[in-house]
Protein backbone atom coordinates (compact mmCIF):
# COMPACT_ATOMS: atom_id res chain seq x y z
CA UNK A 1 0.00 0.00 0.00
CA UNK A 2 1.25 3.45 -0.85
CA UNK A 3 1.82 6.05 1.81
CA UNK A 4 -0.43 9.08 1.61
CA UNK A 5 1.61 12.23 0.73
CA UNK A 6 -0.03 13.84 3.73
CA UNK A 7 2.11 11.63 5.96
CA UNK A 8 5.27 13.03 4.35
CA UNK A 9 4.09 16.57 4.94
CA UNK A 10 3.22 15.69 8.50
CA UNK A 11 6.73 14.28 8.96
CA UNK A 12 8.25 17.51 7.66
CA UNK A 13 5.99 19.45 10.01
CA UNK A 14 6.85 17.43 13.11
CA UNK A 15 10.58 17.46 12.39
CA UNK A 16 10.45 21.21 11.77
CA UNK A 17 8.86 21.73 15.17
CA UNK A 18 11.85 19.96 16.71
CA UNK A 19 14.27 22.03 14.65
CA UNK A 20 12.42 25.15 15.75
CA UNK A 21 12.60 24.03 19.35
CA UNK A 22 16.36 23.63 19.38
CA UNK A 23 17.12 26.62 17.19
CA UNK A 24 14.97 28.98 19.23
CA UNK A 25 16.38 27.83 22.57
CA UNK A 26 19.80 28.84 21.30
CA UNK A 27 18.65 32.35 20.47
CA UNK A 28 20.21 34.76 22.93
CA UNK A 29 17.55 36.45 25.14
CA UNK A 30 18.76 39.90 24.17
CA UNK A 31 17.63 39.18 20.61
CA UNK A 32 14.13 38.02 21.48
CA UNK A 33 12.49 41.11 20.02
CA UNK A 34 14.26 40.74 16.63
CA UNK A 35 13.34 37.04 16.81
CA UNK A 36 9.68 37.99 16.99
CA UNK A 37 9.88 40.47 14.16
CA UNK A 38 11.78 38.06 11.92
CA UNK A 39 9.39 35.19 12.62
CA UNK A 40 6.66 37.62 11.66
CA UNK A 41 8.37 38.28 8.38
CA UNK A 42 9.02 34.65 7.52
CA UNK A 43 5.52 33.46 8.44
CA UNK A 44 4.35 35.83 5.72
CA UNK A 45 5.67 33.30 3.23
CA UNK A 46 1.92 32.62 3.20
CA UNK A 47 2.12 35.11 0.33
CA UNK A 48 2.78 32.14 -1.98
CA UNK A 49 -0.78 31.00 -1.34
CA UNK A 50 -2.02 34.53 -1.88
CA UNK A 51 -0.23 34.77 -5.24
CA UNK A 52 -1.75 31.49 -6.43
CA UNK A 53 -5.17 32.72 -5.32
CA UNK A 54 -4.69 36.08 -7.01
CA UNK A 55 -3.67 34.57 -10.33
CA UNK A 56 -6.52 32.08 -10.34
CA UNK A 57 -9.03 34.42 -11.94
CA UNK A 58 -11.07 32.66 -14.62
CA UNK A 59 -11.34 33.47 -18.32
CA UNK A 60 -14.08 36.03 -17.66
CA UNK A 61 -11.67 38.34 -15.93
CA UNK A 62 -8.89 38.73 -13.47
CA UNK A 63 -11.10 39.74 -10.61
CA UNK A 64 -13.58 37.44 -8.95
CA UNK A 65 -14.38 37.08 -5.28
CA UNK A 66 -11.73 34.45 -4.80
CA UNK A 67 -8.93 36.35 -6.51
CA UNK A 68 -9.79 39.63 -4.78
CA UNK A 69 -9.20 37.96 -1.43
CA UNK A 70 -5.95 36.68 -2.91
CA UNK A 71 -4.86 40.17 -3.94
CA UNK A 72 -5.73 41.61 -0.53
CA UNK A 73 -3.76 38.83 1.13
CA UNK A 74 -0.78 39.68 -1.10
CA UNK A 75 -0.78 43.25 0.20
CA UNK A 76 -1.17 42.19 3.83
CA UNK A 77 1.63 39.66 3.57
CA UNK A 78 3.83 42.15 1.70
CA UNK A 79 3.44 44.71 4.52
CA UNK A 80 4.71 42.05 6.88
CA UNK A 81 7.54 40.82 4.68
CA UNK A 82 8.99 44.25 3.98
CA UNK A 83 8.11 45.68 7.37
CA UNK A 84 9.32 42.61 9.26
CA UNK A 85 12.68 42.16 7.57
CA UNK A 86 13.48 45.89 7.45
CA UNK A 87 12.61 46.56 11.06
CA UNK A 88 14.64 43.50 12.08
CA UNK A 89 17.56 44.82 10.10
CA UNK A 90 17.16 48.21 11.72
CA UNK A 91 17.19 46.65 15.16
CA UNK A 92 20.10 44.33 14.51
CA UNK A 93 22.19 47.21 13.18
CA UNK A 94 21.95 48.79 16.63
CA UNK A 95 23.50 45.88 18.51
CA UNK A 96 27.11 46.89 18.91
CA UNK A 97 29.97 45.57 20.94
CA UNK A 98 31.92 47.64 23.38
CA UNK A 99 34.60 49.64 21.62
CA UNK A 100 38.02 48.67 22.88
CA UNK A 101 39.95 51.20 24.91
CA UNK A 102 36.88 53.16 25.85
Amino acid sequence: MEIDPFIFRLSIFILSIFIGYYVVWSVTPSLHTPLMSVTNAISSVIIVGAIIAGLAGDSNGIFNTSSIFGFLAISLAAINIFGGFLVTQRMLAMYKKKKKGK
Binding site: V24, T28, S30, L31, S43, A56, S75, G83
Partner: protein, 465 residues
Protein backbone atom coordinates in the same frame (compact mmCIF):
# COMPACT_ATOMS: atom_id res chain seq x y z
CA UNK B 1 6.93 27.12 -16.18
CA UNK B 2 8.93 24.85 -13.92
CA UNK B 3 7.93 21.39 -12.81
CA UNK B 4 6.16 20.75 -9.52
CA UNK B 5 9.09 18.69 -8.30
CA UNK B 6 11.62 21.41 -9.01
CA UNK B 7 9.53 24.06 -7.31
CA UNK B 8 9.07 21.75 -4.31
CA UNK B 9 12.86 21.56 -4.03
CA UNK B 10 13.13 25.34 -4.13
CA UNK B 11 10.47 25.65 -1.44
CA UNK B 12 12.55 23.26 0.64
CA UNK B 13 15.61 25.47 0.11
CA UNK B 14 13.72 28.52 1.24
CA UNK B 15 12.52 26.60 4.31
CA UNK B 16 16.15 25.77 5.13
CA UNK B 17 17.13 29.42 4.68
CA UNK B 18 14.43 30.38 7.20
CA UNK B 19 15.91 27.93 9.69
CA UNK B 20 19.31 29.56 9.16
CA UNK B 21 17.70 32.97 9.68
CA UNK B 22 16.61 31.95 13.16
CA UNK B 23 19.90 30.18 13.82
CA UNK B 24 21.71 33.45 13.10
CA UNK B 25 20.01 35.05 16.06
CA UNK B 26 22.07 32.98 18.48
CA UNK B 27 24.50 35.88 18.65
CA UNK B 28 24.38 39.51 17.56
CA UNK B 29 27.41 39.02 15.26
CA UNK B 30 25.74 36.37 13.12
CA UNK B 31 22.26 37.87 13.33
CA UNK B 32 22.60 40.27 10.41
CA UNK B 33 23.71 37.44 8.16
CA UNK B 34 20.74 35.45 9.43
CA UNK B 35 18.36 38.20 8.43
CA UNK B 36 19.89 38.15 4.97
CA UNK B 37 19.22 34.39 4.72
CA UNK B 38 15.63 35.08 5.65
CA UNK B 39 15.24 37.67 2.89
CA UNK B 40 16.88 35.32 0.40
CA UNK B 41 14.51 32.53 1.38
CA UNK B 42 11.54 34.82 0.86
CA UNK B 43 12.78 35.98 -2.57
CA UNK B 44 13.24 32.36 -3.65
CA UNK B 45 9.78 31.35 -2.44
CA UNK B 46 8.05 34.23 -4.25
CA UNK B 47 10.04 33.81 -7.47
CA UNK B 48 9.40 30.07 -7.59
CA UNK B 49 5.67 30.66 -7.10
CA UNK B 50 5.64 33.01 -10.08
CA UNK B 51 7.60 30.55 -12.21
CA UNK B 52 5.48 27.56 -11.25
CA UNK B 53 2.29 29.34 -12.25
CA UNK B 54 3.99 30.57 -15.40
CA UNK B 55 1.05 32.80 -16.17
CA UNK B 56 2.53 36.21 -16.93
CA UNK B 57 -0.79 37.63 -18.07
CA UNK B 58 -2.41 40.85 -16.99
CA UNK B 59 -3.19 39.26 -13.62
CA UNK B 60 0.53 39.17 -12.97
CA UNK B 61 0.67 42.96 -13.19
CA UNK B 62 -1.96 43.21 -10.46
CA UNK B 63 0.03 40.82 -8.28
CA UNK B 64 3.03 43.12 -8.60
CA UNK B 65 0.91 46.20 -7.91
CA UNK B 66 -0.56 44.74 -4.72
CA UNK B 67 2.85 43.46 -3.70
CA UNK B 68 4.30 46.91 -4.21
CA UNK B 69 1.53 48.67 -2.27
CA UNK B 70 2.03 46.35 0.70
CA UNK B 71 5.80 46.56 0.40
CA UNK B 72 5.82 50.35 0.44
CA UNK B 73 3.52 50.51 3.45
CA UNK B 74 5.66 47.93 5.25
CA UNK B 75 8.93 49.69 4.44
CA UNK B 76 7.50 53.04 5.49
CA UNK B 77 6.36 51.64 8.84
CA UNK B 78 9.68 49.87 9.40
CA UNK B 79 11.67 53.10 8.98
CA UNK B 80 9.33 55.38 10.90
CA UNK B 81 8.44 53.27 13.92
CA UNK B 82 10.15 54.33 17.18
CA UNK B 83 11.86 51.49 19.04
CA UNK B 84 9.66 52.04 22.09
CA UNK B 85 6.63 51.11 19.94
CA UNK B 86 8.05 47.71 18.98
CA UNK B 87 5.49 45.69 21.00
CA UNK B 88 2.60 47.42 19.22
CA UNK B 89 4.28 46.91 15.87
CA UNK B 90 4.79 43.20 16.43
CA UNK B 91 1.19 42.79 17.61
CA UNK B 92 0.01 44.66 14.52
CA UNK B 93 2.12 42.47 12.25
CA UNK B 94 0.71 39.34 13.88
CA UNK B 95 -2.79 40.50 13.09
CA UNK B 96 -1.81 40.88 9.43
CA UNK B 97 -0.42 37.34 9.22
CA UNK B 98 -3.65 36.09 10.76
CA UNK B 99 -5.82 38.05 8.35
CA UNK B 100 -3.73 36.99 5.35
CA UNK B 101 -4.19 33.35 6.40
CA UNK B 102 -7.95 33.92 6.64
CA UNK B 103 -8.05 35.52 3.18
CA UNK B 104 -6.05 32.73 1.58
CA UNK B 105 -8.36 30.18 3.21
CA UNK B 106 -11.45 32.03 1.93
CA UNK B 107 -9.94 32.19 -1.51
CA UNK B 108 -9.14 28.49 -1.48
CA UNK B 109 -12.63 27.67 -0.25
CA UNK B 110 -14.30 29.70 -3.00
CA UNK B 111 -12.03 28.53 -5.78
CA UNK B 112 -10.56 25.15 -4.79
CA UNK B 113 -9.70 24.27 -8.40
CA UNK B 114 -6.90 26.84 -8.40
CA UNK B 115 -5.21 24.92 -5.59
CA UNK B 116 -6.02 21.40 -6.85
CA UNK B 117 -8.28 20.76 -3.89
CA UNK B 118 -11.35 19.57 -5.77
CA UNK B 119 -14.30 21.65 -6.88
CA UNK B 120 -16.62 23.95 -4.91
CA UNK B 121 -19.03 21.83 -2.88
CA UNK B 122 -16.80 18.77 -3.05
CA UNK B 123 -13.49 19.82 -1.61
CA UNK B 124 -11.27 16.96 -0.47
CA UNK B 125 -12.02 16.19 3.16
CA UNK B 126 -8.39 16.43 4.32
CA UNK B 127 -7.94 19.79 2.60
CA UNK B 128 -11.14 21.09 4.10
CA UNK B 129 -10.05 20.19 7.61
CA UNK B 130 -6.63 21.77 7.08
CA UNK B 131 -8.26 24.85 5.60
CA UNK B 132 -10.66 25.16 8.54
CA UNK B 133 -7.81 24.92 11.03
CA UNK B 134 -5.79 27.53 9.13
CA UNK B 135 -8.76 29.85 8.84
CA UNK B 136 -9.89 29.48 12.48
CA UNK B 137 -6.41 29.93 13.95
CA UNK B 138 -5.79 32.83 11.56
CA UNK B 139 -9.00 34.53 12.64
CA UNK B 140 -8.16 34.06 16.34
CA UNK B 141 -4.68 35.47 15.70
CA UNK B 142 -6.18 38.45 13.90
CA UNK B 143 -8.77 39.56 16.45
CA UNK B 144 -6.54 38.65 19.41
CA UNK B 145 -3.66 40.69 18.01
CA UNK B 146 -5.92 43.65 17.35
CA UNK B 147 -6.93 43.67 21.02
CA UNK B 148 -3.29 43.28 22.09
CA UNK B 149 -2.37 46.14 19.76
CA UNK B 150 -5.10 48.41 21.17
CA UNK B 151 -4.07 47.62 24.74
CA UNK B 152 -0.39 48.26 24.05
CA UNK B 153 -1.12 51.43 22.15
CA UNK B 154 -3.18 52.67 25.10
CA UNK B 155 -6.31 53.09 22.98
CA UNK B 156 -7.88 50.40 25.12
CA UNK B 157 -7.33 50.22 28.87
CA UNK B 158 -4.58 47.80 29.85
CA UNK B 159 -6.55 46.56 32.84
CA UNK B 160 -8.17 43.16 32.53
CA UNK B 161 -11.79 43.10 31.40
CA UNK B 162 -13.66 40.33 33.15
CA UNK B 163 -17.31 39.47 33.47
CA UNK B 164 -19.37 36.75 35.01
CA UNK B 165 -19.57 33.53 33.05
CA UNK B 166 -16.53 34.44 30.97
CA UNK B 167 -14.84 31.07 31.15
CA UNK B 168 -17.98 29.00 30.46
CA UNK B 169 -18.76 31.28 27.51
CA UNK B 170 -15.26 30.84 26.07
CA UNK B 171 -15.45 27.09 26.56
CA UNK B 172 -18.81 27.02 24.82
CA UNK B 173 -17.44 28.96 21.85
CA UNK B 174 -14.41 26.68 21.59
CA UNK B 175 -16.69 23.65 21.53
CA UNK B 176 -18.88 25.29 18.89
CA UNK B 177 -15.79 25.81 16.71
CA UNK B 178 -15.24 22.06 16.69
CA UNK B 179 -18.93 21.41 16.01
CA UNK B 180 -19.12 23.92 13.17
CA UNK B 181 -15.93 22.49 11.61
CA UNK B 182 -17.53 19.06 11.74
CA UNK B 183 -20.72 20.36 10.10
CA UNK B 184 -18.69 22.19 7.48
CA UNK B 185 -16.81 19.02 6.59
CA UNK B 186 -19.93 16.90 6.42
CA UNK B 187 -22.10 19.34 4.44
CA UNK B 188 -19.52 21.47 2.55
CA UNK B 189 -21.94 24.34 3.03
CA UNK B 190 -20.37 27.79 2.80
CA UNK B 191 -22.66 29.04 5.58
CA UNK B 192 -20.74 26.92 8.05
CA UNK B 193 -17.47 28.27 6.68
CA UNK B 194 -18.52 31.88 7.35
CA UNK B 195 -19.91 30.87 10.74
CA UNK B 196 -16.59 29.27 11.60
CA UNK B 197 -14.75 32.48 10.72
CA UNK B 198 -17.19 34.62 12.70
CA UNK B 199 -16.94 32.62 15.92
CA UNK B 200 -13.16 32.37 15.56
CA UNK B 201 -12.91 36.16 15.35
CA UNK B 202 -15.14 36.39 18.40
CA UNK B 203 -13.14 33.95 20.52
CA UNK B 204 -9.86 35.69 19.63
CA UNK B 205 -11.34 38.88 20.96
CA UNK B 206 -12.76 37.26 24.11
CA UNK B 207 -9.54 35.38 24.90
CA UNK B 208 -7.40 38.51 25.03
CA UNK B 209 -9.63 41.08 26.77
CA UNK B 210 -9.25 39.55 30.27
CA UNK B 211 -5.46 39.68 30.11
CA UNK B 212 -3.76 42.64 31.78
CA UNK B 213 -1.13 44.99 30.36
CA UNK B 214 1.89 43.53 32.10
CA UNK B 215 1.02 40.04 30.86
CA UNK B 216 1.47 41.31 27.32
CA UNK B 217 4.86 39.60 26.90
CA UNK B 218 3.05 36.26 27.21
CA UNK B 219 0.19 37.34 24.98
CA UNK B 220 2.43 38.61 22.20
CA UNK B 221 4.52 35.44 22.28
CA UNK B 222 1.38 33.33 22.25
CA UNK B 223 -0.07 35.19 19.27
CA UNK B 224 3.31 34.81 17.56
CA UNK B 225 2.93 31.09 18.03
CA UNK B 226 -0.67 31.14 16.72
CA UNK B 227 0.34 33.01 13.58
CA UNK B 228 2.81 30.19 12.94
CA UNK B 229 0.22 27.45 13.40
CA UNK B 230 -2.15 29.34 11.08
CA UNK B 231 0.56 29.49 8.42
CA UNK B 232 1.26 25.78 8.87
CA UNK B 233 -2.45 24.97 8.49
CA UNK B 234 -2.53 26.87 5.20
CA UNK B 235 0.75 25.18 4.24
CA UNK B 236 -0.90 21.78 4.57
CA UNK B 237 -3.83 22.96 2.46
CA UNK B 238 -1.55 24.26 -0.28
CA UNK B 239 0.82 21.30 0.10
CA UNK B 240 3.66 23.77 0.34
CA UNK B 241 6.84 22.71 2.16
CA UNK B 242 8.15 26.25 2.74
CA UNK B 243 4.94 27.20 4.53
CA UNK B 244 4.83 24.01 6.59
CA UNK B 245 8.45 24.39 7.74
CA UNK B 246 8.02 28.09 8.49
CA UNK B 247 4.74 27.55 10.30
CA UNK B 248 6.33 24.91 12.52
CA UNK B 249 9.37 27.12 13.23
CA UNK B 250 7.30 30.17 14.10
CA UNK B 251 4.81 28.12 16.08
CA UNK B 252 7.46 26.56 18.27
CA UNK B 253 9.35 29.84 18.56
CA UNK B 254 6.31 31.60 19.94
CA UNK B 255 5.55 28.70 22.25
CA UNK B 256 9.07 28.76 23.70
CA UNK B 257 8.95 32.52 24.22
CA UNK B 258 5.59 32.17 26.01
CA UNK B 259 7.12 29.51 28.22
CA UNK B 260 10.15 31.70 29.04
CA UNK B 261 7.87 34.63 29.85
CA UNK B 262 5.61 32.53 32.08
CA UNK B 263 8.64 31.17 33.90
CA UNK B 264 9.89 34.74 34.36
CA UNK B 265 6.67 35.45 36.25
CA UNK B 266 6.49 32.05 37.96
CA UNK B 267 3.00 31.56 36.59
CA UNK B 268 1.52 28.77 34.59
CA UNK B 269 0.47 29.41 31.04
CA UNK B 270 -3.17 28.74 31.91
CA UNK B 271 -3.03 31.11 34.83
CA UNK B 272 -2.01 33.91 32.45
CA UNK B 273 -4.51 32.95 29.76
CA UNK B 274 -7.42 32.75 32.15
CA UNK B 275 -6.54 36.30 33.05
CA UNK B 276 -7.81 38.73 35.63
CA UNK B 277 -4.52 38.76 37.53
CA UNK B 278 -3.99 41.74 39.81
CA UNK B 279 -7.64 42.69 39.89
CA UNK B 280 -8.45 40.91 43.13
CA UNK B 281 -5.26 41.33 45.12
CA UNK B 282 -6.00 44.74 46.63
CA UNK B 283 -7.46 43.26 49.80
CA UNK B 284 -4.37 41.15 50.41
CA UNK B 285 -1.96 44.01 51.07
CA UNK B 286 -2.30 45.10 54.65
CA UNK B 287 -3.18 48.72 55.31
CA UNK B 288 -0.50 49.27 57.94
CA UNK B 289 2.28 49.29 55.36
CA UNK B 290 1.37 52.74 54.14
CA UNK B 291 2.52 54.26 57.42
CA UNK B 292 6.09 53.08 57.02
CA UNK B 293 8.72 55.77 56.54
CA UNK B 294 10.33 56.18 53.16
CA UNK B 295 13.61 57.93 52.49
CA UNK B 296 13.31 60.27 49.56
CA UNK B 297 16.10 62.07 47.80
CA UNK B 298 16.81 64.33 44.89
CA UNK B 299 19.17 64.25 41.94
CA UNK B 300 22.06 65.68 43.99
CA UNK B 301 21.83 62.90 46.57
CA UNK B 302 21.71 60.31 43.84
CA UNK B 303 24.67 61.84 42.04
CA UNK B 304 26.64 61.94 45.28
CA UNK B 305 25.97 58.28 45.98
CA UNK B 306 26.93 57.20 42.51
CA UNK B 307 30.03 59.35 42.33
CA UNK B 308 31.37 57.64 45.43
CA UNK B 309 30.55 54.19 44.17
CA UNK B 310 32.95 51.96 42.33
CA UNK B 311 30.30 49.83 40.68
CA UNK B 312 26.73 50.48 39.60
CA UNK B 313 24.09 48.13 38.21
CA UNK B 314 21.21 49.62 36.23
CA UNK B 315 17.85 47.84 36.37
CA UNK B 316 15.56 49.14 33.63
CA UNK B 317 11.84 48.39 33.37
CA UNK B 318 8.77 49.37 31.47
CA UNK B 319 8.81 52.83 33.08
CA UNK B 320 12.03 53.60 31.24
CA UNK B 321 10.32 52.83 27.93
CA UNK B 322 7.31 54.96 28.82
CA UNK B 323 9.50 57.92 29.76
CA UNK B 324 11.78 57.36 26.72
CA UNK B 325 14.64 57.63 29.16
CA UNK B 326 17.09 55.24 27.47
CA UNK B 327 19.20 57.96 25.82
CA UNK B 328 19.38 60.07 28.97
CA UNK B 329 20.34 56.92 30.85
CA UNK B 330 23.19 56.19 28.43
CA UNK B 331 24.52 59.72 28.89
CA UNK B 332 24.44 59.30 32.64
CA UNK B 333 26.32 56.02 32.33
CA UNK B 334 28.91 57.62 30.04
CA UNK B 335 29.59 60.22 32.71
CA UNK B 336 29.87 57.52 35.35
CA UNK B 337 32.31 55.60 33.23
CA UNK B 338 34.48 58.68 32.81
CA UNK B 339 34.79 58.64 36.59
CA UNK B 340 36.05 55.04 36.41
CA UNK B 341 32.86 53.55 37.78
CA UNK B 342 32.01 50.09 36.54
CA UNK B 343 28.49 50.01 35.11
CA UNK B 344 26.42 47.08 33.93
CA UNK B 345 22.78 46.55 33.13
CA UNK B 346 20.54 43.83 34.57
CA UNK B 347 17.50 42.74 32.58
CA UNK B 348 14.69 40.67 34.00
CA UNK B 349 13.06 38.27 31.51
CA UNK B 350 9.68 40.01 31.73
CA UNK B 351 10.91 43.60 31.89
CA UNK B 352 8.92 45.66 29.40
CA UNK B 353 6.01 44.61 27.29
CA UNK B 354 7.59 41.98 25.07
CA UNK B 355 10.52 39.55 25.20
CA UNK B 356 13.80 41.42 24.75
CA UNK B 357 12.09 44.83 24.81
CA UNK B 358 14.68 46.44 27.14
CA UNK B 359 17.61 45.07 25.17
CA UNK B 360 16.39 46.73 21.99
CA UNK B 361 15.87 50.06 23.72
CA UNK B 362 19.36 49.96 25.24
CA UNK B 363 20.82 48.97 21.89
CA UNK B 364 19.04 51.93 20.35
CA UNK B 365 20.72 54.20 22.88
CA UNK B 366 24.10 52.75 21.80
CA UNK B 367 24.64 50.67 24.91
CA UNK B 368 27.07 47.91 23.93
CA UNK B 369 25.32 44.56 24.26
CA UNK B 370 28.17 43.04 26.23
CA UNK B 371 27.39 45.38 29.12
CA UNK B 372 23.84 44.06 29.31
CA UNK B 373 23.21 40.93 31.37
CA UNK B 374 20.36 38.53 31.96
CA UNK B 375 19.05 37.74 35.42
CA UNK B 376 21.01 34.52 35.94
CA UNK B 377 24.24 36.07 34.67
CA UNK B 378 24.24 39.06 36.98
CA UNK B 379 22.21 38.16 40.04
CA UNK B 380 25.25 37.15 42.11
CA UNK B 381 26.95 40.45 41.39
CA UNK B 382 24.49 42.59 43.32
CA UNK B 383 26.10 41.62 46.61
CA UNK B 384 29.43 43.12 45.49
CA UNK B 385 27.92 46.24 43.99
CA UNK B 386 27.72 49.66 45.58
CA UNK B 387 24.65 51.14 43.91
CA UNK B 388 21.66 49.65 42.13
CA UNK B 389 19.84 52.17 39.96
CA UNK B 390 16.30 50.93 39.39
CA UNK B 391 14.61 52.89 36.66
CA UNK B 392 10.99 52.10 35.84
CA UNK B 393 11.03 48.59 37.28
CA UNK B 394 9.23 47.45 40.43
CA UNK B 395 7.82 43.95 40.85
CA UNK B 396 10.90 42.30 39.34
CA UNK B 397 12.96 43.61 42.27
CA UNK B 398 10.49 42.80 45.05
CA UNK B 399 12.19 40.64 47.71
CA UNK B 400 8.74 39.40 48.81
CA UNK B 401 8.95 36.96 45.92
CA UNK B 402 11.67 35.16 47.88
CA UNK B 403 10.49 35.60 51.46
CA UNK B 404 6.73 36.03 51.67
CA UNK B 405 4.88 32.87 50.73
CA UNK B 406 1.60 34.81 50.95
CA UNK B 407 2.64 37.20 48.21
CA UNK B 408 1.00 36.72 44.81
CA UNK B 409 4.40 36.89 43.16
CA UNK B 410 5.99 34.38 45.56
CA UNK B 411 8.42 32.16 43.70
CA UNK B 412 8.93 34.53 40.81
CA UNK B 413 12.63 34.95 40.02
CA UNK B 414 13.66 38.47 41.05
CA UNK B 415 16.78 40.58 40.79
CA UNK B 416 18.57 40.65 44.15
CA UNK B 417 18.69 44.42 44.19
CA UNK B 418 18.41 44.61 47.98
CA UNK B 419 21.88 43.05 48.35
CA UNK B 420 23.53 46.20 46.97
CA UNK B 421 25.03 48.64 49.48
CA UNK B 422 22.45 51.21 48.39
CA UNK B 423 19.48 51.23 46.08
CA UNK B 424 18.21 54.17 44.06
CA UNK B 425 14.62 53.87 42.93
CA UNK B 426 13.40 56.19 40.19
CA UNK B 427 9.63 56.15 40.27
CA UNK B 428 6.82 58.54 39.72
CA UNK B 429 5.05 57.71 42.97
CA UNK B 430 4.75 55.15 45.73
CA UNK B 431 2.00 53.32 43.90
CA UNK B 432 2.32 49.56 43.84
CA UNK B 433 3.43 47.86 40.66
CA UNK B 434 1.33 45.90 38.27
CA UNK B 435 0.89 42.96 40.61
CA UNK B 436 -0.89 45.31 43.02
CA UNK B 437 1.48 44.59 45.87
CA UNK B 438 3.74 46.72 47.96
CA UNK B 439 7.49 46.53 47.50
CA UNK B 440 9.35 46.17 50.81
CA UNK B 441 12.42 47.51 49.13
CA UNK B 442 10.96 51.04 49.25
CA UNK B 443 11.17 51.06 53.06
CA UNK B 444 14.63 49.57 53.48
CA UNK B 445 17.31 51.49 55.30
CA UNK B 446 19.59 51.64 52.28
CA UNK B 447 16.96 52.62 49.73
CA UNK B 448 16.62 56.14 48.41
CA UNK B 449 13.45 56.92 46.50
CA UNK B 450 13.70 59.43 43.68
CA UNK B 451 10.19 60.55 42.84
CA UNK B 452 10.28 62.05 39.36
CA UNK B 453 9.87 61.32 35.72
CA UNK B 454 12.57 58.81 34.78
CA UNK B 455 14.00 60.88 31.94
CA UNK B 456 14.08 64.16 33.84
CA UNK B 457 15.62 62.59 36.93
CA UNK B 458 18.33 60.86 34.89
CA UNK B 459 19.20 64.12 33.15
CA UNK B 460 19.35 65.96 36.48
CA UNK B 461 21.65 63.33 37.95
CA UNK B 462 23.99 63.66 34.98
CA UNK B 463 24.17 67.43 35.56
CA UNK B 464 25.12 66.85 39.18
CA UNK B 465 27.78 64.25 38.54
Amino acid sequence: MISANLSAIFYLISGVLFILALRGLSSPETSRQGNFFGILGMVIAITVTFLSIGNFSSGFVYVLIFLLIGGLIGAFIAYKIPMTAMPELVAGFHSLVGLAAVFVAISAFLNPEAFNLGSPGSIKLGSLIEMSIGAAVGAITFSGSIIAFLKLQGIMSGSPITFKGQHPLNALILISIVVVTYLLCSTQSSNFFWALLAISFLIGFLLIIPIGGADMPVVISMLNSYSGWAAAGIGFTLENTALIITGALVGSSGAILSYIMCKGMNRSFFNVILGGFGATDQSLSSGSKEQKPVKTGNAEDAAFLMKNASSVIIVPGYGMAVAQAQHALREMVDTLKKNDIKVSYAIHPVAGRMPGHMNVLLAEANVPYDEVFELEEINNDFANTDVAFVIGANDVTNPAAKTDSQSPIYGMPVLDVEKCKSVLFVKRGLSPGYAGIDNDLFYKENTLMLFADAKKMTEDITKNL
